[in-house]
C-alpha cells in the first residue's frame, strides 16, 4: 500500500487504493458512532483547526465532530473573529497556524486553490480541503462514495457495484467543487459518469475529464441511471445570466415527481445539501426511500474521521482501525 498523501487537497491526490482505504477505515468509525460513548483516543494530543473563510456550519460541524470523537483538540477559526479582517494576509494566517503547533488544518475558502497554496506554505501541518471555490470538495465526494457503497450492501460487495455503475450528475457543474471531486471519485472506482446541464452551467472545457457523456436531456439518461447526483442551483443562476428562470431550469433539469418514476428500481438519489426543494428536486422526491440525503450527512462524520485518521493518526496508533 502506498503511503497516504500528506494533504487532501483534491480527489486527484488519492488513487483507487487510497479511496478504498478511506471507505474501509470509515466502516470502523461508523461502528464507533453507534456506541453509547462514540469517542476513541486515536488523536489524543493532536490539534486540529478548522479555518473557514467561507461560512458553512454544516461542513465545519461535521469536521469538528469527527475530530472531537477522535479526542483531538479542536480550534475553530473563523475570519470574522480573527485578524484576517484586520488586513492580515492569507499567508500570515496560515503561517501562524503552523507556529502554534497545529497538526492538521481544515480549510474552506471561496477562492479556488487556497488549500493548495496553504499546503505549499506549511512544513509540518496537513491540509484538508473542505471546499475551495469551484475547485474541489474531496470529503464530500468520499462520503458520497461511502453512502452509495452502503446503499448497495456495503463492504466488498457494495464496492464491487461501482464497476460499470451509471452515475448521472445533474446541475450547475460549472460552479461546483462537489461535481469536480465526484467525477474523479466515481470514475476511480469504475463508474461511468454522465453530466446533465445546460451548456451555460458546464465548464467551458471538459478536456481531460473522465466523463462518458454530456447531455441536455435528463429524460434520456434517467432510465439507465444507478445513481442520480443532484447539485444545488443557487438562485442567482436563475436570474437570466446563466438560465432564464429557475422555473425553466426545474422544467428541464429538476428531479420532479414525474421524472422520479422513470428511475429503475434500486436506483439511488444523492444531493450534497442543503437542498432547494422545488428547484433541483421535488419535495416528495427528496422524501423517497431511494433518496440518501440524510445518510450522506450522517456518514459525513465517519468519513471525515477516516480522513483525519489516515492523515494524522498513522504512526501513533496506526493499524488500530485496520480490519
Amino acid at each position: 500500500m502506498s503511503p497516504f498523501p500528506a494533504h487532501l487537497l483534491s480527489m486527484d491526490d488519492l488513487g483507487t487504493e487510497e479511496i478504498v482505504e478511506v471507505l474501509e477505515v470509515a466502516d470502523s468509525f461508523v461502528e464507533v458512532g453507534r456506541r453509547a460513548n462514540p469517542k476513541v483516543p486515536t488523536l489524543r494530543g493532536r490539534t486540529v483547526a478548522t479555518l473557514f473563510f467561507e461560512d458553512s456550519t454544516r461542513t465545519r460541524m461535521s469536521f469538528e465532530t469527527a475530530a472531537k470523537r477522535m479526542s483531538a483538540d479542536v480550534l475553530s477559526f473563523a475570519p470574522g473573529s480573527s485578524s484576517v479582517k484586520k488586513g492580515e494576509s492569507l499567508r500570515d494566517t496560515i503561517e501562524t497556524i503552523e507556529a502554534i503547533g497545529i497538526d492538521g488544518v481544515i480549510i474552506r475558502h471561496a477562492s479556488s486553490g487556497v488549500p493548495a497554496r496553504a499546503a505549499g506554505w506549511l512544513d509540518h501541518c496537513s491540509v484538508i480541503n473542505a471546499g475551495d471555490g469551484w475547485h474541489q470538495h474531496p470529503t464530500q465526494a468520499l462520503l458520497d462514495l461511502y453512502t452509495v457503497r452502503q446503499a448497495f450492501g456495503g463492504g466488498d460487495s457494495g464496492l464491487a457495484r461501482f464497476e460499470g455503475m451509471q452515475v448521472v450528475i445533474v446541475g450547475d457543474i460549472r460552479h461546483s467543487r462537489v461535481a469536480r471531486s465526484q467525477i474523479t471519485a466515481y470514475t476511480a472506482l469504475g463508474a461511468e459518469v454522465t453530466l446533465v446541464a445546460p451548456t451555460t452551467l458546464l465548464p467551458p472545457s471538459l478536456e481531460g475529464w473522465p466523463v462518458t457523456s454530456v447531455t441536455q436531456h435528463l429524460d434520456d439518461v434517467l432510465p439507465k441511471a444507478d445513481v442520480v447526483s443532484l447539485l444545488r442551483v443557487q438562485s442567482e443562476r436563475g436570474s437570466g445570466e446563466f438560465v432564464p428562470t429557475l422555473r425553466e431550469y426545474t422544467a428541464d433539469y429538476g428531479l420532479t415527481a414525474r421524472r422520479a418514476t422513470m428511475l429503475q428500481p434500486g436506483a439511488f438519489i444523492l444531493h450534497p445539501g442543503p437542498i432547494v426543494r422545488g428547484v433541483e428536486i421535488a419535495s416528495e422526491v427528496a422524501e423517497l426511500p431511494a433518496a440518501l440525503i440524510t445518510d450522506q450527512v450522517s456518514n459525513g462524520v465517519a468519513v471525515r474521521m477516516a480522513v483525519l485518521f489516515l492523515l494524522l493518526g498513522q504512526g501513533t496508533l496506526g493499524g488500530a482501525h485496520r480490519g
Binding site: 477562492s111 479556488s112 486553490g113 487556497v114 497554496r117 474541489q136 467551458p204
Partner: protein, 446 residues
Amino acid sequence: MGHTVGDRGESVTGAGPTLVIRGGTVVDQSGERRADVLIAEGRVAAVESRIARPRGAVVLEADGCVVAPGLVDLHTHLREPGREESETIETGTRAASLGGFTAVVAMPNTEPALDSAEAVRNVQELAVGASAHVAVAGAITVGRAGERLAPMSELAALGVRLFTDDGAGVQSAGLMRRALDYATGLGVTLAQHCEDRTLAGDGAMHEGAWSSRLGIPGMPAAAEEVMVARDIALVRALGARMHFLHLSTTGSVDLVRRAKSEGLAVTAEAAPHHFSLTDGRTADYDPVFKVNPPLRPQADVDALKAGLADGTIDAIATDHAPHAPELKDLPFDQAPPGMLGLQTALSLAISELDLPVARILALLSWQPASICGLDPVHGGDQGGAIVPGAAGNICVIDPTATWTVEASMLASRSRNSPYDGRKLTGRVRHTVFRGEPVVIDAEAQR
C-alpha cells in the same frame, strides 16, 4: 550631470564621460560590423575598427558582444505616482537599464491616472535623473474610465506620443471612434489593451482546459479578439493608425496579419511571458503566473512566435507590472495581474525565439522606438543607427552568456518574476544612457 527637462519631456545631458566600447560587433538597422565605438559628450563620436583609448576614457569591454542601440520598451508600469511600494521611477528605470533599455514608455494607469497635463508633467519631472528615458503615455479617457476623452492635444504638446487606457480597453466602440478621429493631426498613436469586459467578466486566467479543471473563472480568447477585430474595423473605416498592446492569441495575430496585408496602419507588440509560458503554469495557483491578458495554451505561444518571425508583430514589449509581495500572496482570483519583465525580456527573446540577433534587436529597439515616436525620424534619440553624431544610447549584449534568474536579486522593488530559478541565455553587459554608463558588467551604476 546637469539634467534639465527638454520641451518634449526628455532629459538633456550636457558633457558626459568619454567611453570606448571595445571589441564588439555593432548591430543596428543598417547592418552588422566589427567596430569599436567612441562616446563623448553624450554622443557617438566615432565608430571604427580600432579606436585607441583617449586619456581618461572609460573602456567598456565588449569582446564577443553585440553593441546595439539601446532597447525601447513600449509597455512599462512604473507605478509612480500612487503605488510606490511596488515600484518607483528610480527602481523601475534601474531595472530597465539592467535589461538593456534606454527608454521605457510609462503606462498611464498610475494613481492618479496620467490624463492631465499636470499629471504628465509630474512624471516627467520625477523622471529627471532616472536610469532610462521615461516617455509618458497618456490616457485616452479621463481617469481611464472610458467615458470622456482626455485632453490629448494638451498632452501631445508635452511630448506624449502614445495614448492608451491600458489595464483596460476602451469598451465603447463609439468613444473609440471619436478618440481615433480626434487624434488625427496630433501626431500621436492610440494603443489598445484589447479586452471586452462583457466577455472577460471576472476571469482570472485563460478560459480553457486548465481554468475548467482548476475551477478558476476564465476569460476566453474571444474577449481579446473581438476588440482587435472591432478596432481594425475602425482603423479601416477612419483611415486611422493604431497600436495593439500585448497580443496573446492565435486569432489576434491572424487579425493583425490580415489587416497589415490590407495595408492598414496597424502595429502590434507581444510580451515575453506570452511567448515563453503557458496557462498550465497556473496549476499550483501561484498568482505570480497571473497576468492580463492571461497566459495561453501552447498553440497561442506558437502563433505569437510565428507572428514575431514573419513581421506581423512589430515589437516585444515587457508589460513590466510590479506588485508588492503581499498582493501576490492573495488567493489567485483576488491577486492583481502582472509580472516583472524588464530584466528578462531580452534574454527570453534570445532563449525562446529562433531569430537572428538583428531581428531580435529590431523587435526590441528600433521598431518600438518608431512606434512611440522616439526614433530619430521623429526627432527622438532612441533606436537610431550607431554612427558618429548619434545619441549615446547603447546596450552591449553578450548573446551567449547564461545566467539564472533570481527574483530576489532583481532591481525592481517587487519580486513577482515568473522566471525565478530559470536559466536563460543572453545577457546585458553594459548599458549607456545619453553617454553615461548606467550599467557596467551587469551592475547598475546609479
